[in-house]
């Protein structure tokens, strides 16, 4: 039991560090490991506590490209869409935040929901899968908060363009704003490269 608890705490700090690291081109570390977490608890439970498996929404993102009708540049209109590898975070609205566990007769196996930990992204709850005393999968669940601060997050705020975060060239770009580019020029543009990276 204690080994599982220590393992869970270690995983929480590892996952918290991952949250603050953006992977390239629109992906985010929150996307890792989005397998359905619904493994059932081990058999033979004493019934001392129940595990909670948050509902897992399958998440992903798609990108479509196309061009509207032609102008003087003869460009046909076509649209294509393909599944993208950059996926968004999973979320759920589970309400319980307590740690719990149950045991099976073959040693520690099952799915455990760890304690809620406060991070700058909000409270994080970790769900781990244990087989025979070893952690085989770990997954963090971020709960969206229905409070006024969230509305602030999505309201338009004039960006501080002289901040270091804005000036730094990090390479993680989702889109490029430039002077009007026609379909012919698009092929060579940086936006085209960004779109292709999202689509591939």
């Amino acid at each position: 039991m204690r080994r599982v608890v220590v393992g869970a705490m270690g995983t929480v700090s590892g996952l918290v560090l991952l949250f603050s690291y953006h992977t390239s081109l629109g992906g985010s570390a929150l996307a890792s490991g989005t397998t359905a977490g619904g493994t059932t608890t081990g058999a033979g439970s004493d019934g001392s506590a129940s595990t909670r498996t948050p509902t897992q929404s399958s998440s992903g993102s798609s990108s479509s490209s196309g061009s509207s009708s032609s102008s003087d540049d003869s460009s046909g209109s076509s649209s294509s869409s393909a599944p993208s590898t950059s996926s968004s975070s999973s979320s759920s609205s589970s309400s319980s935040g307590k740690s719990s566990s149950s045991k099976s007769s073959s040693g520690s196996s099952g799915t455990y929901t760890g304690q809620s930990v406060d991070t700058r992204w909000g409270p994080v709850q970790v769900q781990i899968t244990v087989k025979n005393g070893k952690i085989t999968a770990a997954q963090a669940v971020v709960f969206p908060q229905e409070n006024p601060r969230d509305q602030e997050i999505n309201s338009f705020a004039v960006p501080q363009l002289n901040s270091e975060a804005v000036q730094a060239q990090s390479g993680n770009i989702d889109a490029v704003s430039g002077a009007t580019v026609t379909s012919g020029g698009y092929i060579q543009s940086l936006q085209s490269a960004v779109d292709q990276a999202h689509l591939s």
């Binding site: 929150l30 649209s79 975070s89 979320s91 969206p144 960006p159 704003s177 936006q191």
Partner: protein, 245 residues
């Protein structure tokens, strides 16, 4: 319009058929507006108006709405943005292209956001010929990162703006050459390589970027006076300045 448009959606049903249909509807809406407004299409309403075959007062409601927005744009920019520009013979004719570009995308993206709203929490980014519009419903996703192109080297960017809702529009000569005219002189403006505006609505970000580019030397001080907007200007000597200074 001949604009390349890409749409990025992230969220629980982003790869599903409803989202695909909603994105298709956005492309359809842009094509429909192109059919109404394109000055390159001989049978568009705007082309008919320009040839005097149709009165603005009798035109499609969307065209009349855009004309009203153009009048408002001229007022807000002190005439730096003007949809009634001199043609080849010097006579002023209606050309709303500069405003329609951002407005049509904003309209279509608004409809997309509403449809996505029925499908749960999704985030959207629309990139259209150099304009970028974003809308986040989720609060557990990273900010969209919108970079501003370096007009001296279009494979490079100057800075990257994190955004959850809003729009980024850039006006300049980098892509197409001298296609923007100063309404006061009828000739191409000089003094800036590009002007970028970040604001809550794409229609106005586009108008202000165009107006700033036309203004040239006093673009930055004018942009600084616009509440709720940020701006970046690149001078012909390569200097980059922002309204945050």
């Amino acid at each position: 319009m001949g604009l390349p448009v890409s749409v990025h959606v992230r969220g629980p049903t982003a790869q599903g058929p409803e989202v695909e249909a909603a994105v298709e509807a956005l492309f359809d809406a842009l094509r429909a507006d192109d059919a109404l407004f394109s000055t390159w299409k001989a049978d568009s309403e705007v082309s008919r108006i320009r040839r005097g075959e149709r009165l603005l007062a009798d035109a499609d409601p969307r065209v009349r709405h855009v004309a009203a927005l153009c009048e408002e744009a001229a007022r807000r920019t002190g005439g730096s943005f003007d949809a009634w520009l001199p043609g080849a013979d010097g006579v002023r004719v209606f050309d709303p292209t500069g405003l329609v570009k951002g407005w049509a995308v904003e309209q279509a993206a608004g409809d997309l956001v509403r449809r996505l709203g029925e499908l749960g929490g999704h985030d959207v980014l629309v990139s259209a010929g150099g304009d970028v519009l974003v809308h986040c419903e989720r609060t557990d996703t990273p900010d969209w990162r919108v970079a501003i192109e370096d007009p001296r080297d279009r494979s490079r960017t100057l800075l990257t703006v994190p955004l959850r809702r809003g729009a980024v529009a850039t006006s300049g000569t980098a892509a197409r050459g001298e296609h923007i005219l100063d309404p006061a002189t009828g000739a191409a403006p000089s003094g800036l390589l590009s002007a970028t505006v970040i604001g809550p609505e794409l229609t106005w970000a586009d108008v202000y970027a165009t107006a700033a580019f036309v203004r040239g030397a006093d673009a930055l001080s004018w942009l600084s006076g616009l509440p709720g907007h940020a701006g970046v200007v690149v001078s012909t000597d390569g200097t980059v300045r922002t309204t945050s200074e």
